[in-house]
C-alpha cells in the first residue's frame, strides 16, 4: 500500500530564516506531487505541483520554491521566511490526473 510522510509536524522559525519541508511517498512510482498551504479564512491554496523529477509548476508568486530531486521526494523551501509564510502546509500525491489526492498529515509553520 502507498504511504506519504511529511515532516516536521510543527515548526517555529524566526523571520528571515530558511525553510525546508520534506515529503516522501512510498509504494508507488512517478506520482504527481503537490504542495498546498492552508491559512485561516483562505482555504486550501495550491502552491506547487510536479508531474516528474525536476518538473515543477508554480501557482502563486511567493517567497517559496519547490524541488523534486527524486521520483518520490518533494521539498518546499524558502531562503528567507516572512511572517505571511505562517500556515499549515500539506503535501499530497496522486497516481494520475483525474484520480483522488492523498494527503500527508501536514506541517504547522509559525514564523515569529
Amino acid at each position: 500500500s502507498q504511504t506519504i510522510h511529511q515532516w516536521p509536524a510543527t515548526l517555529v522559525q524566526p523571520v528571515g530564516s530558511p525553510l525546508s519541508l520534506e515529503c516522501t511517498v512510498e509504494g508507488t512510482s512517478n506520482p504527481n506531487l503537490y504542495w498546498y498551504r492552508q491559512a485561516a479564512g483562505r482555504g486550501l491554496q495550491l502552491l506547487f505541483y510536479s508531474v516528474g523529477i525536476g518538473q515543477i509548476s508554480s501557482e502563486v508568486p511567493q517567497n517559496l520554491s519547490a524541488s523534486r530531486p527524486q521520483d518520490r521526494q518533494f521539498i518546499l523551501s524558502s531562503k528567507k521566511l516572512l511572517l505571511s509564510d505562517s500556515g499549515f502546509y500539506l503535501c499530497a500525491w496522486r497516481r494520475i490526473s483525474g484520480s483522488p489526492l492523498h494527503f500527508g498529515n501536514g506541517t504547522r509553520l509559525t514564523v515569529t
Partner: protein
C-alpha cells in the same frame, strides 16, 4: 481561473439531524472530490464524482453531482459527533489537468 464556493461556511447541528453541504463551481466540473479534515490534520478522501447526475454513498454520507456538472452536494443522514470536522470540495480545473483546486471548506459541529 476556476473557483469553488462552498455553502454554508459553517453549520452547527444536533446529533441525529440531517444536513446538506453545497459546492458550486464557476466552470464545468471535470472531477469533483469531497474530503474531510479534522483540525490540524491532513485531508481524508471521501468520494469522487465525475459524471453528470452521478451519486455515490458511503455509510451515512451521500454525494451528488448535478447534470450540468457545476454543482455538487454532500448529504449526511442522522449526523453523529464523529461527523464533525471541515468538509472540503476539490476539483480538477479541466479534463486531464494536473491542477486540483479546493473550496474554502465548511466547518461542521455536531452537538450530542
Amino acid at each position: 481561473s476556476q473557483e469553488l464556493e462552498q455553502s454554508p461556511q459553517s453549520l452547527i447541528v444536533q446529533e441525529g439531524k440531517n444536513l446538506t453541504i453545497n459546492c458550486t463551481s464557476s466552470k464545468t466540473l471535470y472531477g469533483l472530490y469531497w474530503y474531510k479534515q479534522k483540525y490540524g490534520e491532513g485531508l481524508i478522501f471521501l468520494m469522487m464524482l465525475q459524471k453528470g447526475g452521478e451519486e455515490k454513498s458511503h455509510e451515512k454520507i451521500t454525494a451528488k453531482l448535478d447534470e450540468k456538472k457545476q454543482q455538487s452536494s454532500l448529504h449526511i443522514t442522522a449526523s453523529q459527533p464523529s461527523h464533525a470536522g471541515i468538509y472540503l470540495c476539490g476539483a480538477d480545473t479541466q479534463g486531464g489537468s494536473e491542477k486540483l483546486v479546493f473550496g474554502k471548506g465548511m466547518k461542521l459541529t455536531v452537538n450530542p
